[in-house]
Amino acid sequence: MMTKRNMWLLAGLIALILAPLGQGNYVVYTLCSWLIFSMAAMGLNLTLGYAGQISLAQSAFMAIGAYTTALLTLPPAEDGVGGLGLHWLVAMPISVFAAFVVGLIIGFPALRVKGHFLAFVTLAFTTLTFLVLRNEDWLTGGTYGLVGMPRPDFGFFNTGKQLRFYYFTLAVFVVFCLLMWGIIRSPWGRAFKALRENSIRAESLGVDTRRITLLAFAIGSAAGGLAGSLVAPLVQFIEPGSFALVHSLKMLLMVVVGGAGFFFGPVIGAGVVILMPEFLRFTEGYYLMIYAATVIVLIIFCPKGLIGLGEIIRNKLRKDKKVRGDMDKGAQL
């Protein structure tokens, strides 16, 4: 039995498999970073879309993932900064776990207090991470960063070539989506959703709001770590500037543009943020301005993002299908 939704998912997957065929290295590279940023943004979506907290630390968690993976997989060096020469399959779980633990540590104090304190703590954390990466050059290579992270080799499947690395990333992406889907459907995930729909009611039904929010944030952070762990072998060059605060903002906007709280919203948002510059090349430096202005207009007129926009248009076209008009009123209460 194929439901309509599964058909769409299958079509999307096939499109993703076919997309890079016959394309140049650069296009494949862009597609890779789209998938990677999608994962980071989906993680952030747990925090923002479900738990309703702003995190500005996703780039810092990517940095943690990327630097951990880099230091574990780089070959040992005679002089300068070297690594341990481990396999990516070993380095990745460690990176993800590191991001998860740091997420717990950062989130705990901030989420004790009501309000937008997580935004401030994560803002500070991202800046601190940047400073540490820049200043501790014995470990991180300072402003020069780390170069030449090996791409994972699975014996029968070496991901050294760009196209192969894309399929490797796609495989990780699919597994990641399945995991996320599992999390969203688990009791935790239902608690996340309850939090999003009506946090007071969730609390009155016995959901420990703080714990669940913290958990959402930490899982989201772990997703950032995973994305970082893939960025390191993709770009094969990491430096503090790639993980500065502006990238956290970018990821936050990906989630909002795509549609916070929708499962695939961030994927669309990441697509817009990563792929749009390629289409808007001709605008040169004005790109970021156009983008920021578009985001503001989108937030004002359609706070649910592009997916929400799709919904609005669909409802306009099919006026007869009115899904519970009382829900709108309920949401305002």
Binding site: P109, F117, A119, F120, T127, L131, L245, Y286
Partner: protein, 292 residues
């Protein structure tokens, strides 16, 4: 010891300017329950209004100063409220906060593209020079900064506490519903708050920019400092933001002089985390203040 006093004084002087931005931030928070993530850019922009007035419109310095101030109040106060805050407030705080982040990017990039990506020299508004008081070199600029900031803060306090409009604004900040019932024009008061924030941002901009040079990216650091000052001092009152600003200014200078220049920026951040951890209502804040 002489050096200590010099560092302390210049720390206080810079801190007093940070405090202006932080106070504006606090006022907006109280009036509209909005965290303005573009506050740093709000401080960056008026300096460019002034420069544009001088270089493109050929105004003399004092006229450009007034031009910059008025334009800042109009754009950062009136337009910001009407175009961004009003339509978004009904969607809840989260959308608005994210919109201010996008606004920060927009302002930064606009200045970079339309004015210049290079740091611009900016005229010093207050007199240069220094006094030598028994070995301690007292910079006249620092003293003037402190004095001007003090006048602004005291003036603001008097306005808020002693005038009818000011009291109405405070009532609005404390409880808009009751204020409205008592006949306060809440919408107007909120608008005034935004206008005052525009004034404070512009004044902070004119005072701080000679120190840093006018650059499109100035707002990143200034914004961060304004948040930290506001939170460290206590979110729900002006004196908190004032104390926070001064504290950060002094701490910043002391760290750079005596401990480490590399991690100078880290100290306010660590202070922020420590305050949120141990005293989330801020050093001077009271916990019964309104929650978000």
């Amino acid at each position: 010891m002489e050096q200590f006093f010099q560092v302390l004084l210049s720390g206080l002087a810079t801190g007093s300017i940070y405090a202006l931005a932080a106070i504006g931030f606090t006022l907006i928070w109280q009036a509209a329950q909005t965290v303005n993530f573009a506050q740093g850019e709000f401080v960056m922009l008026p300096a460019f209004f002034l420069l544009a007035g001088m270089h493109f419109l050929g105004m003399p310095f004092w006229m450009a100063l007034i031009f910059g101030l008025l334009l800042a109040v109009f754009v950062l106060g009136f337009l910001f409220k009407r175009v961004l805050v009003d339509p978004l407030l009904k969607h809840g705080g989260l959308s608005l906060i994210i919109a201010t982040m996008a606004l920060a990017i927009l302002m930064k990039e606009s200045v970079k593209e339309f004015y210049s990506a290079e740091a611009q020299p900016f005229p010093e508004i207050v007199p240069n020079g220094s006094w030598d008081i028994s070995g301690v070199i007292v910079s006249l600029t620092d003293i003037s900064h402190l004095f001007i900031s003090a006048v602004i803060v005291i003036g603001l306090q008097l306005f808020l506490n002693r005038t009818r409009t000011g009291r109405c604004m405070q009532a609005t900040a404390q409880n808009p519903g009751v204020a409205e019932i008592l006949g306060v024009n809440v919408k107007r008061m909120v608008l005034y708050t935004f206008l005052i924030n525009g004034v404070l941002a512009a004044l902070a901009s004119f005072l701080i920019t000679p120190v840093y040079l006018a650059k499109f990216s100035n707002g990143e650091y200034l914004g961060l400092i304004a948040f930290i000052a506001a939170i460290v001092g206590g979110f729900n009152q002006i004196r908190g933001a004032l104390a926070g600003g001064l504290l950060i200014g002094v701490l910043d200078n002391m760290t750079a002089t005596y401990i480490t220049a590399e991690y100078r920026q880290a100290v306010p951040l660590l202070l922020l985390i420590a305050v949120i951890l141990f005293r989330p209502q801020g050093l001077l804040g009271t916990s019964e203040g309104r929650e978000a």
